[in-house]
Amino acid sequence: MIRLPLGLVLASATTTAAIAQQPEPTPTAPSQSRAGEIRIGFVAQSLRRQSAFDAGGTATGVGSLSGFELFARLEGVGLLARRSTGTIDANGHGLEGEYLLREVRLIIGPRVFSIEGGRLQRTGSYLNVEAAPTAWRGGIRSQWSIGGSGVVVTIGAGALFSKLDTEGGAQFKLRGHDLDAQALLQAPGHLPLYVLAGWRYERFDDLEASSARSEEASGPYLGIGVRLAPRAILRDP
């Protein structure tokens, strides 16, 4: 049920990225280096949390998060770190209060299709009890530029795992999924500034150290910041 649409979306994204990154009809390779990119910027997200609790019942809360995002990448290896915080308003349903999102990812592979692995933490109120569940994350992402427009599209998906220590050793159990789509614009190409807009969806099941059986958190986000990269990457990441 979940894997099929997820696979279709990512397969389409990867195919599009592969087509978009087709080599130019040139007799020789571009002389400019395509290695290296670093961007850091401010991110603001409108977040909606919906939780189903072990004790029964559901709750919905909305709020705004803001923070920073750092993305650095060499050819074939990258790093993503983000941190956002804000306040959730749930009208007395138990989700009110501060909410903190922290995440770090290691990215391996070419831009058109790369593999991610990382760690994340969501700190918030669950039935008025603060909890900070953590999870390991493994995922894939695909990134491509649209011609020479300066628009860079990224679509990524991931699976969230928790580590269980059992008598047979440590085991990882699937705890959720996430999906992310964003469009970044860096224009005009010679300025190291970017704006981006995107959507992020996360789903958690059997959250560790919380009373929530399942939770989904989603919403649009906007970002702005500085992006440094060789000219070839600015227009043609």
Binding site: I2, T16, S31, Q50, G147, V153, Q182, A197, S214
Partner: protein, 361 residues
């Protein structure tokens, strides 16, 4: 001549009898007119002023007279008619000769062995009363380089306008105006035979006219100069002004319209799918609605992605093509600079010639 006695006439006729075709004595060319003038000057030195005057008068009537011979004859006539001994002086007659003299030689003095202070004063008076103008013809002028010039010094007894025209032989009209100066007493008329790297006058024979005009009286004097211009074309290399567009390669790919449309659809689809297909059963079972903003935001984000990329996409830069075009332009510029330098050298090395001869009046 009116004062010449019969004996004087006899002497002159005797001298004239010796005037005939130029003869060669031991290889030396004998000029009978010059001999005649020398005889007149000898008569003057022997104080035979009437004889000298008669000889001058005879010479001045000869049709084949050259300009310098005419000037010598007029000097001799003036000196013979106004010698230092007061008894032989005829001021009016001398003035008549001097006015003819200054008309064609406004600034030339009288030979030192013929003149004296009284005659010099008379000459100055003649210059004051007579409008005369002259032009000095350089003979053969080599034209070295396209900026070479031919210069004609001019002079007049009083400030005058000088107009310089050139007319190709065999054509009609006043001729092409090439220079004008004035009012001045001394100046230089110039003509540039090559203008804008092109001979202004094709090789051939020309009639050059220098007209001097007295601005007070309106009196005009024309000097006719026969000219032969030898002006070959300037052998310049042709310089292209731009690169042949057919040799330039496209520096950009066509805009990626299909990728733009597919990307927008993927973004929209991902957003909408995420809110509807990944939901936990615990929430769907509890009839908790899906994220209502997903559809409008997904569509908006997709449309925005497509619209922005569609509008901004001018195609990807094809770096090797751009570099090849840059190399082509650099090579073109280097070649062009080389041709320009070569043409500068050819301009300096250009050689022509203008041969001029003043026509006798």
């Amino acid at each position: 001549m009116n004062r010449c006695h019969t004996g004087c006439i006899g002497i002159v006729l005797g001298l004239l009898a010796s005037v005939g075709p130029p003869a060669s004595v031991e290889g030396q060319v004998i000029n009978p007119i010059q001999d005649l003038l020398d005889g007149g000057r000898q008569a003057f030195n022997n104080l035979n002023y009437h004889v000298a005057d008669s000889i001058a008068g005879v010479v001045l009537k000869l049709p084949e007279l050259r300009r310098n011979q005419r000037l010598q004859a007029l000097q001799l006539a003036a000196a013979a008619r106004y010698p230092e001994s007061g008894a032989d002086q005829d001021g009016d007659s001398a003035m008549s000769a001097l006015r003819r003299y200054v008309r064609v030689a406004p600034t030339a003095p009288i030979a030192r062995d013929l003149t004296w202070s009284g005659l010099d004063s008379l000459l100055a008076e003649a210059r004051r009363l007579t409008f005369g103008a002259s032009v000095s013809v350089p003979g053969t002028s080599p034209i070295e380089g396209v900026n070479g010039r031919v210069s004609l010094p001019v002079a007049a007894t009083r400030p005058a306008y000088f107009v310089f025209r050139v007319l190709r032989e065999g054509t009609e009209g006043p001729g092409e105006l090439v220079d004008s100066i004035g009012p001045i007493e001394h100046g230089i008329l110039r003509v540039a035979p090559v203008v804008s790297d092109t001979p202004r006058f094709p090789s051939g024979n020309y009639q050059l006219t220098v007209t001097a005009t007295d601005p007070t009286t309106g009196e005009q004097l024309n000097h006719i100069i026969r000219g032969e211009f030898v002006l070959p074309p300037v052998p310049l290399r042709e310089i292209p002004d731009r690169v042949d567009p057919a040799r330039l390669k496209p520096e950009r790919t066509p805009p990626s319209r299909a990728i733009s449309l597919i990307s927008g659809a993927l973004v929209a689809g991902t957003v909408i799918a995420s809110a509807h297909l990944l939901r936990p059963p615990a929430l769907t079972g509890a009839s908790v609605g899906s994220e209502s903003r997903a559809v409008p935001i997904g569509i908006g984000l997709g449309v925005l992605t497509t619209a922005v990329s569609w509008y901004l996409d001018r195609g990807k830069t094809i770096a090797p093509h751009a570099e090849a075009n840059l190399r082509l332009l650099r090579d073109f510029e280097a070649n062009r600079r080389g041709l320009l330098a070569e043409n500068d050298r050819l301009r300096l090395a250009y050689q022509g010639e203008v041969r001029l001869a003043l026509e006798e009046p």
